[in-house]
């Protein structure tokens, strides 16, 4: 077994383990952390395919940003594990049905012509000066420029829609207006009063020196 195969099977084993733990682990924070591990190992597998741009972007976007926000939410939830387990038997048939449906779908996809061994040749090794980033940029901005741009516009629309849906003015919420805070001058807050010095009447006892 070559070194490359050893690396592949090591990472593949870790990936399968992490993915299984995501759905079997009780604590949602642990599940999210296993998902992070799964992303990380799949990035390592992509590196083996010489797709370094995609691999690093996977780490950057999913591990570095998406999962951080995910953890952010999951950690704030106060989940009662007992009530989570309650409806297990009741929902089991539905779950099994969905699982069977997904299994059939995946079999249909994997057995189709597009995934044939003939139409999916073994990827060829490139020379050391091969740049996955350059190749990807070339394809993305020439052959697929319109689909790419349309996808990005759809994403922008989704972002604006998400913000518009969550941004609502509530009467009781208090906000600050930084522009007004910055505009404040000394005269608005402090009043300097010029006055003659005063001396209090001296007490004779001299207890307070």
């Amino acid at each position: 077994m070559s070194f490359e195969k050893l690396v592949f099977y090591t990472f593949a084993a870790i990936l399968v383990y992490a993915a299984t733990r995501v759905i079997t682990v009780r604590n949602p924070v642990h599940a999210a952390l296993h998902l992070v591990l799964a992303f990380f190992t799949s990035a390592a597998l992509w590196l083996l395919l010489e797709a370094e741009f995609l691999a690093i972007t996977l780490v950057l976007v999913y591990v570095g940003a998406v999962m951080v926000l995910f953890l952010f939410v999951v950690m704030m939830l106060d989940i009662n594990l007992v009530s989570l387990k309650e409806g297990f038997m009741r929902y089991l048939p539905v779950g099994l049905g969905v699982a069977a449906l997904m299994l059939i779908e995946m079999i249909l996809v994997v057995r189709s012509k597009a995934f044939d061994a003939a139409s999916m040749p073994v990827p060829v090794r490139h020379a050391a000066d091969y740049s996955n980033t350059r190749e990807l940029g070339g394809v993305l901005y020439t052959d697929y420029v319109y689909p790419f741009e349309i996808a990005s516009v759809i994403l922008v629309v989704a972002i604006i829609a998400a913000i518009a849906l969550t941004l609502r003015k509530r009467g009781e919420s208090k906000t600050q207006n930084p522009a007004e805070q910055v505009k404040v001058r000394r005269e608005d807050r402090v009043r300097l009063v010029k006055m003659a010095t005063e001396q209090p009447e001296r007490a004779d006892s001299g207890e307070h020196s």
Partner: protein
């Protein structure tokens, strides 16, 4: 490949390990003496002397600190999540050290000349936040948890501005390889990217200060409100690991700012008739170190000068000032690149 025996393999691995040690040993020493420099410089800025008891003029103070931390007991809180509590410092320091693999110290002086090195660094610095998040959650302490929430939101916000600033650099250089970016700045002091990308340069460094949770953006450890933030439950070496990660990240940001905007290992006297030959003998890494030290001094200077930001002000600065500014500058830069403007983009 068939002829390479186990012996060649051992030599290759040994060589890489030796290179890693050559990079990491000075880095750890640099972290130790950066803490010393911090205490001394801030001391003098506040009309104090700073540490001056251990060794001549206090030079052995960091060694004494390390020994103290090594000998202290690592206390694991009873109700904490043991496994995650122990793994969190490792997750903080791992990315902080791994990022150094692609930093070029001179022409060809780099451990791994990766093609997408800039992207690699951006990815690894964003992974570093997991140490903070997991530490805060596993400690099972309210203070640590509040700090985690603050830190996560802050780092994710500033990463966007930082990423856009880096996009500006790679547009100008036409490459995401750090060595190529430095070589693209060759010419003179005015060819370095600090001049054409001045707003991005400033935003990059300020975002870097925010990413490393340093003053004035250090709300994650705000002593006055949440004691010490995410590492409040850590002691001894576990605490030292967080400390090491924070300072290693500071040095990393300083090196990156020098590489990306101040011409890396290029001499500042390049292209000047008399001075350029006079300083030819200075090796490149010395220039890089000098430029990085400048940024490290800024870090300490900021800490001595600015009061801590209010949290909503940090968020406003990141989202409403930096991100729009970088986007506008990227558009302007795109126009400059297309039109081949002046000595930088031709």
């Amino acid at each position: 490949m068939q002829e390479t025996g186990i012996f060649d393999w051992i030599i290759t691995v040994g060589l890489i390990l030796a290179k890693i040690i050559i990079i990491l040993l000075p880095l750890v020493l640099g972290v130790a003496y950066l803490t010393f420099a911090e205490r001394k410089i801030i001391g003098y800025m506040q009309m104090r002397i700073g540490p001056n008891r251990v060794g001549p003029r206090g030079w052995l103070q960091p060694i004494a600190d390390v020994l103290k931390l090594l000998m202290k007991e690592v206390i694991v809180p009873t109700r904490s999540n043991n496994y995650l509590f122990v793994i969190a410092p490792t997750l903080a320091i791992g990315p902080a050290l791994a990022a150094w693999a692609v930093i070029p110290f001179g022409d060809g002086l780099v451990l791994a000349d990766v093609d997408a090195s800039l992207l690699y660094i951006l990815a690894l610095t964003s992974v570093g936040v997991y140490g903070v998040i997991i530490a805060g959650w596993a400690s099972n302490s309210k203070y640590a948890f509040i700090s985690t929430m603050r830190s996560a939101a802050q780092i994710v916000s500033y990463e966007i501005a930082m990423g856009f600033a880096l996009v500006g650099v790679l547009m100008a250089a036409g490459s995401i390889n750090l060595s190529d970016i430095v070589e693209a700045q060759r010419g003179s002091l005015l060819h370095w990217y600090w001049l054409p990308l001045l707003p991005l340069f400033v935003i990059y460094f300020i975002s870097g200060v925010a990413e490393t949770n340093r003053a004035p953006f250090d709300v994650a450890e705000g002593e006055s409100e949440i004691v010490a933030g995410f590492h409040v439950e850590y002691s001894g070496m576990a605490f030292a690991m967080f400390f090491l990660a924070e300072y290693a990240n500071m040095i990393l940001i300083a090196f990156l700012a020098a590489l990306l905007f101040l011409g890396g290992w290029l001499s500042p006297f390049e292209g000047i008739p008399v001075l350029a030959p006079m300083f030819n003998w200075v090796p490149g890494p010395v220039w890089l170190l000098a430029k990085a030290s400048l940024f490290l001094f800024f870090y300490l200077w900021f800490r001595a000068t600015f009061p801590r930001y209010r949290y909503d002000q940090i968020m406003r600065l990141g989202w409403k000032v930096f991100i729009p500014l970088t986007i506008v500058w990227l558009v302007l830069e795109g126009a400059a690149v297309v039109s081949g403007l002046g000595p930088w983009f031709d």
